[in-house]
């Protein structure tokens, strides 16, 4: 039954991909049908994943083997079902939102490509998660990369898009390259493409395979220092696509890492330390960069880097604890990582969708030109606020529940044997706490500058609430964020895990009780009148939006504290008429934001490749005689080699 449903979901997605591309009419109904396919398929996927997730056993679909060694097959176990659920829930809400959103976009019939490719993208992600062997995993991984590239490239006529898309294209193929290398190395090791456990301690080949796969998945999930594509690709792509990429595609990469760690490799402790170290660096640096960002979508992209870092921390901790023989504690860390993947998918798609509404209403991505939107877009504001609460890990929402699991794993990991490792774990714990507190600061800034205060531009002044369908998708996500947080303990118990989580339902209840109590007491003893009067404008007659605290000003203290990390260079050169430096003659001043990773990592590597290519290009001089000489030399060399070797 489940297998048939799965095939049905795939076919529906395929239909959603083909219909708008074959019938090339600029028609709202056509696109609605296409998104309807996404919605239907997502619903089927979410439903079919539930029984598997609750432990009804693994579903295997017969493999299609076109040629001996290569086969394409599917299987759905609990891990795959979990990620199918994640894909299903998020793409359901995103497609609901996109129906209306894409009608507001420019592009005429080009919008058919958008909805078609969205279906293809979802299809590819489903296939990656359900792939039964490494060969099909890689094929679908490539399909996912291609589909997402088309979507990022959608608004190619905007000035920043081509560069962003090419950047994304290169990075995503670098990721595919490393994944392919890893899979090939695994094939050398085991002689098959099956997802089987490699027995014994990992050999050199297996270790190399792990490093390659780790790099591939790290690039795809935006781990620092491979993260640079996220803040480029997300602002460039349409908001529903950003939501899908950030919420789901990054999680597919995490699925890949987990699948290989859990089912193929027998990890060693330093692998865990490696994952933990990269995770911690991404978490801290991600949120520090997010604080500095004033492009709303780029900020959300950096915050995705932070959250993926947290998930990697959970996975790294799991490997460290598992290899130290503490499997109960390790499973808590793993559960935390998985739960945070789901939670991040929910609140980040919520934030990206509401950010999309805001950008649609104000026609800008710069948070300094927003403000005061809570009066003009009250529902969107409330939804964004819910997302901010969840991402800032505040109880009783879902972000807190999953971070708490990872915190608990850290807190109780003191029984780990090696004292040096303990110190390392505590360092990670301290940085984790910093990350979580900084993300609260970051989202106070985001919500505050976008929705509160006074409008800081004409467009923001004239903004209006979006249509109900664009509120429904984020609304469902917001409800999911609250429910998964409040009932975190119950959900975990239902899935059969006993976790050291406090009962957040009780906490929520107590919060409501205290709220009611406070309100009731004040209702009776305090006067119920209130008056509206102008904010004090520091002596000015009226208050101006320019005098308000801006987003930039909000993050200034943290900018200064973390200035060694931002590497901002402030140059201030002045010339004076007199030697005492009193009468000013002329001067220049500039603030240069150093893009550390681009300047010290990406560009040197790129320049190296250009140099190598230039050297190789010398062989190609366009002269036929030279080419014949090459062929001749090659043939001679081959003859000599074969004669000597065979």
């Amino acid at each position: 039954m489940i297998a048939e449903l799965f095939i049905l979901a795939l076919l529906v997605l395929l239909a959603g991909f083909i219909i708008p591309l074959v019938i090339r009419a600029d028609n709202t109904l056509l696109r609605t049908v296409s998104y309807g396919c996404t919605i239907l398929a997502s619903l089927i996927l979410a439903i079919l994943s539930l029984p598997v997730l609750l432990g009804s056993g693994t579903i295997t679909l017969p493999a299609y083997a076109p040629a001996g060694l290569f086969s394409i097959g599917f299987f759905i176990d609990r891990l795959a079902a979990f990620f199918l659920l994640l894909i299903g829930v998020v793409s359901f809400c995103v497609a609901l939102y996109a129906i209306e959103y894409s009608e507001h976009m420019d592009g005429g019939v080009r919008r058919n490509i958008l909805c078609g490719a969205t279906n293809l993208f979802v299809l590819a992600m489903v296939l990656v998660v359900a792939a039964a062997d490494t060969f099909s995993f890689f094929i679908f991984w490539e399909l996912m990369a291609a589909a997402s590239f088309i979507l990022v490239m959608y608004e190619y006529d905007r000035p920043a898009t081509p560069r962003a898309s090419i950047f994304y294209f290169v990075m995503t193929h670098l990721s595919a390259l490393f994944v392919m290398l890893g899979i090939l190395l695994l094939w050398f090791e085991s002689g098959s493409f099956a997802l089987e456990r490699l027995a014994g301690t990992p050999s050199l080949t297996a270790t190399c395979a792990f490093i390659c796969l780790f790099t591939g998945f790290a690039i795809k999930s935006g781990i620092i220092p491979f993260h640079k594509w996220l803040p480029y690709a997300h602002p460039a792509s349409p908001s529903p696509i950003s939501a899908l990429m950030s919420a789901v595609m990054l999680k597919v990469a995490i699925y890949g890492l987990l699948r290989f760690i859990l089912d193929v490799f027998t990890p060693e402790i330093w692998w865990g330390v490696l994952i933990l170290a990269f995770g911690t660096a991404s978490a801290v640096l991600g949120v520090i960069y997010a604080l500095k960002e004033h492009d709303l979508k780029a900020m959300l992209a950096y915050s995705s880097i932070e959250n993926v870092g947290i998930i990697f921390m959970g996975i790294g901790l799991f490997v460290v604890l598992e290899t130290s023989g503490l499997s109960v504690l390790a499973s808590i860390a793993l559960l935390g990582a998985l739960f945070h993947s789901l939670n991040h998918a929910l609140f980040k798609s919520l934030l990206f969708l509401t950010a999309g509404s805001v950008i649609h209403a104000t026609h800008t991505r710069n948070i300094e030109h927003m403000g005061g939107l809570v009066h003009r877009m009250p529902v969107t504001g409330a939804l964004f606020c819910t997302g901010s609460l969840a991402i800032a890990a505040l109880p009783p929402l879902n972000g807190f529940a999953s971070e708490l699991l990872i915190f608990m794993a850290f807190f109780t990991s003191v029984t780990v044997v090696d004292p040096l490792l303990k110190v390392f774990l505590f360092l990670c714990l301290a940085l984790f706490a910093l990350t979580s507190a900084l993300s609260a600061a970051c989202f106070v800034k985001a919500f505050g500058s976008v929705f509160l205060g006074m409008p800081r531009s004409q467009k923001s002044e004239e903004a209006h609430e979006v249509s109900p369908l664009m509120l429904l998708g984020p609304g469902i996500l917001a409800a999911a964020c609250i429910l998964l947080g409040v009932f975190a303990l119950q959900v975990m118990t239902l899935a059969g895990f006993s976790v050291p989580l406090p009962d957040l339902f009780l906490v929520g209840l107590l919060l409501l009780m205290m709220l009611a109590l406070t309100y009731a007491v004040l209702f009776f003893i305090s006067p119920r009148t209130s008056r509206v009067s102008e904010t004090w404008g520091c002596g000015m007659h009226f208050q101006e939006a320019g005098a308000e605290y801006s987003g930039h000003g909000f993050s200034e203290p943290l900018d200064i504290i973390f200035s060694p990390l931002y590497r901002t260079r402030i140059k201030n050169e002045r010339a004076f008429f007199d030697e005492h430096g009193v009468i000013f003659q002329s001067g220049t001043a500039e603030i240069k934001l150093l893009r550390v990773f681009e300047e010290y990592l990406y560009l040197p590597v790129a320049r190296g490749f250009v140099k190598i290519s230039a050297t190789i290009a010398q062989f190609q001089n366009g002269c036929l005689d030279t080419y014949i000489l090459y062929v001749f030399v090659t043939v001679i060399a081959l003859l000599v080699f074969l004669g000597w070797y065979v």
Partner: protein, 313 residues
């Protein structure tokens, strides 16, 4: 939820609400004495709160539901957090109440809405306060978590209730580790309650204020809630320090005599701590905002030292 825990909720909330203004009043009084002033009467805080409650609320035209909801959400979160720290008697916790991390994040919840309320009116003072509050809260967080991790290691539990049980049942637990944790907790208390040298609770000068800046647009009952919640937060953090260091008098079961003795002793111990805080504040000048991180680095050093002692001992 059993009956005893229900009584615990009532009693703890009532005690913390009643005592909180006294302690903040006492600190004010001590500071006045050291400055050679008479100072306000000891119970002035109660009168102030009563006066504010009876006043009309004034909102800015820019203010939204955030401004209206924040005082209530803030108060509710602080009151729930107060349940996590037993003041006069410890009972068996229900449903994971008492988890240290949840406690910290409930405080963060309160701070989140307070900071948003600071931004809501569109005044530059509010924004300045919010910005500084969130920045300082963020950089103290590693220290806080390390201190609580150290507590979790020393007491082998993540529940504040169990920690108090352990400390109350083994009276003489004043080891070097506990003293170091006490120092770090004291620094956290100073930072979390916006006191000198990090912030100055008495000033409304734009260059120095943090916490007060956020409250500048609050009025009437909303301001009363904000003031009371700040006092409750102070009391709760003081209780945490007191009941870990000197748990004498903390009742381990629900008896009328035990609770009364516990309450009296708690007020005594709390008053001593309030005097210490007052003297500590008076003996210091407020640090510049960007010198504050170095203070935190010191607290971080102390707490890491505890961890290392615990790990290698």
């Amino acid at each position: 939820m059993n009956l005893e825990f229900f009584f615990y909720i009532l009693l703890n909330t009532a005690v913390v609400l009643l005592i909180a203004p006294l302690f903040s009043g006492l600190i004010k009084k001590v500071k006045a004495w050291t400055q050679g002033r008479q100072g306000p009467p000891l119970f002035q805080q109660y009168f102030v709160l009563f006066k504010l409650v009876k006043k009309e609320v004034i909102y800015s035209p820019n203010a939204s539901w955030v401004m209206r909801a924040a005082p209530f959400l803030n108060m509710a979160a602080i009151l729930v957090a107060a349940l996590f720290v037993p003041l006069v008697f410890v009972t068996e916790p229900v449903g994971g109440i008492g988890n240290v991390i949840l406690f910290l994040y409930l405080l963060a919840f309160a701070r989140f809405f307070m900071a948003l309320a600071g931004l809501d009116a569109g005044s530059s003072f509010g924004g300045m306060g919010s910005s500084r509050e969130m920045s300082i809260a963020a950089i103290i967080e590693p220290t806080t978590i390390i201190v609580f991790a150290a507590l979790a290691i020393v007491f082998k539990t993540t529940s504040i209730f169990s920690m108090f049980f352990t400390s109350a049942s083994t009276q003489a637990l004043v080891t070097p580790t506990i003293i170091l944790i006490g120092i770090s907790l004291f620094i956290i208390l100073i930072v979390e309650t916006s006191r000198i040298p990090v912030d100055n609770p008495e000033t409304h000068l734009e260059l120095t204020m943090i916490h007060e800046g956020m409250l500048l647009e609050q009025s009437g009952k909303n301001l009363a809630l904000m003031e009371l919640s700040a006092a409750v937060k102070l009391t709760v953090l003081m209780a945490l320090l007191i009941n870990l260091m000197i748990p004498a008098g903390l009742a381990l079961s629900l008896t009328a005599a035990g609770v009364v003795i516990g309450a009296v002793l708690f007020i005594l111990k709390g008053s001593v701590l309030a005097i210490i805080i007052g003297l500590f504040e008076s003996s210091m000048a407020k640090k510049r905002l960007f010198q504050v991180p170095s203070l935190f680095a010191m607290a971080f050093f102390f707490s890491t030292l505890i961890i290392i002692i615990e790990v290698f001992a």
